[in-house]
Amino acid sequence: MPPTRKSKKEMSVKMEPGFPGAKTAVAFFEWFGDLGMFCGRLTVPFFVPPYEIREFVRQFDELGSKSLPLAGLAGAATGVVLSLSTRDSLIRFGAKSLLPEAIVFSILKESGPIITALVVSGRAAAGIGAELGAMKVTEQIDAIEVSAVNPYKFLVATRVLACILMLPLLTLVTDFCGIFMGWVTDTLAEPISLRLFLTSGFQNVTFSDFLPSTLKTMVFGLIIGLVACFQGMRAQGGTEGVEHAATTSVVLSSLLIILADVLLVRLILVFFP
């Protein structure tokens, strides 16, 4: 809105002389303010029918099918790395028998969720940011609005919900691949049956170890979906605007995921000691 823009501009102009970083500071707070307004515009379409089920299913399918191989591969690599590095450490302390448990706990509680979130953030956030950015600069989003369809409901709510619901499922895939490849690596170094590996690995695992850390990825999904859609919907200019939307979507969502993880880990420790 022009009056708002004017007031923001005036504010930055007033602050600049006394405070050299004023422009950056204003841009920083302006980003959060705009994100808040974006969330506000999204809230009602998110919950009020009619729902865009067809588009949601399409997004859910696309996100899942395209991210699944990446999540699996990242999980497998994490399992291998964990097995190799942890084995060496545990041998030094004479606690080699704890290796299956160390791998399982590490993957279920932290590595699996955060690796999944970062991998999906790299793929999906860039994809969503670029797609919506391109739609914005080519007036496709305007065309949706002119067709009397709310783009927040059709484009944003469907993608955000798909991200929220898909992340825990992909985390299960990452966990599975990580644990399996952890066993493969372990058994190549010193043969151990899969059954024994899983029995000793899961012997002390409870649902409070597994569920909160898996479900916290829904928050990561929310961050990925929201940030990518927000950056895409505010894209301006031509290809440069699209590129900027894609890049900032990945960078900001990855950063916010790591910051949110700090908070979530602390909260999980408080509520599931």
């Binding site: 809105m1 007036e139 496709q140 305007d142 369809v149």
Partner: protein, 260 residues
């Protein structure tokens, strides 16, 4: 009695704009625009690039919010209207975008079906038939399964026009309908617009700087300069004008080719 008659007539006008102002930052784009379009009438808005012609169309359809002034669609003020009410008005307006703005991820058929799927309850078979009729009316029935990237700019305009007609609008807004097209295709699009207007008796606003195209499709023309309407009337009125800018615009447009 006469005043009441005038008020009723204004209430039924498809589009009525009064003292419309719009600026971006310090730059005033529209500076007190007044215009009205009657049912079945086509108004072309001419002007140089960057004079706010496209902004005016976006204001009329509620994509942008005016700083001040009034925009009435069938007598209903749209500024400040809640989204659900604005969307009800938008269903009566068809908009052809400058670059067609077809949805990349949907086929030609799905593009035209997009508004129908959301606003008109009909079976899949009925919808498909209706979409084919719309595509046929713009000569695109053979390409219904193609993606927008697989068809030419002129064909995209036709599909965009079919999509704009999908909900049976009584107002059509055209943003540079012949921009970027070769003279023959531009003439074809102009004739197509003219034919559809006659068949459907819609009120149309065509934003363009294609003087020949405007002459073909318009009942009236308005020339925009410095955010204001410099002159408004029939094409003949413009040709009779002795204003230096009008004369120069018409002469340069005549020499400059058929489209932008």
């Amino acid at each position: 009695m006469e005043a009441m008659h005038t008020t009723n007539e204004n209430d039924s006008l498809p589009v009525q704009v009064k003292t419309l102002h719009k600026s971006f930052g310090e730059q005033a784009v529209l500076n007190g625009i007044n215009l009205q379009v009657r049912q079945g009438e086509t108004l072309s808005i001419l002007g140089r690039s960057g004079t706010g012609k496209s902004v005016l169309l976006k204001l009329i359809v509620g994509l942008q919010v005016p700083d001040s002034g009034s925009i009435c669609i069938h007598g209903k003020e749209i500024a400040g209207l809640p989204l659900d009410q604005l969307n009800e008005i938008r269903k009566k307006i068809g908009f052809l975008f400058q670059n067609s703005a077809l949805y990349d991820s949907l086929t030609v058929e799905e593009n035209v079906a997009f508004p129908l799927r959301r606003h008109i309850k009909m079976s899949d078979g009925e919808r498909k038939k209706h979409v084919q009729e719309l595509l046929s009316s713009v000569g695109m029935e053979q390409d219904s399964q193609k993606m927008p990237g697989q068809i030419s700019g002129g064909m995209q305009k036709r599909v965009g026009l079919a999509r704009a007609l999908a909900l049976g609008p009584d107002i059509l807004l055209f943003d540079e309908p012949t921009a970027g097209l070769d003279p023959i295709t531009a003439a074809e699009i102009g004739e197509l617009i003219l034919r559809l207007q006659k068949e459907r008796n819609v009120a149309s606003i065509v934003v363009t700087h294609d003087i020949h195209g405007a002459q073909t499709v318009s009942d009236r023309v308005a020339l925009l300069r410095d955010g204001q309407i410099l002159i408004e009337g029939t094409f003949g009125d413009l040709q009779k004008s002795s204003d230096t800018f009008v004369v120069q615009f018409l002469n340069d447009g005549s020499l400059g080719g058929h489209h932008v």
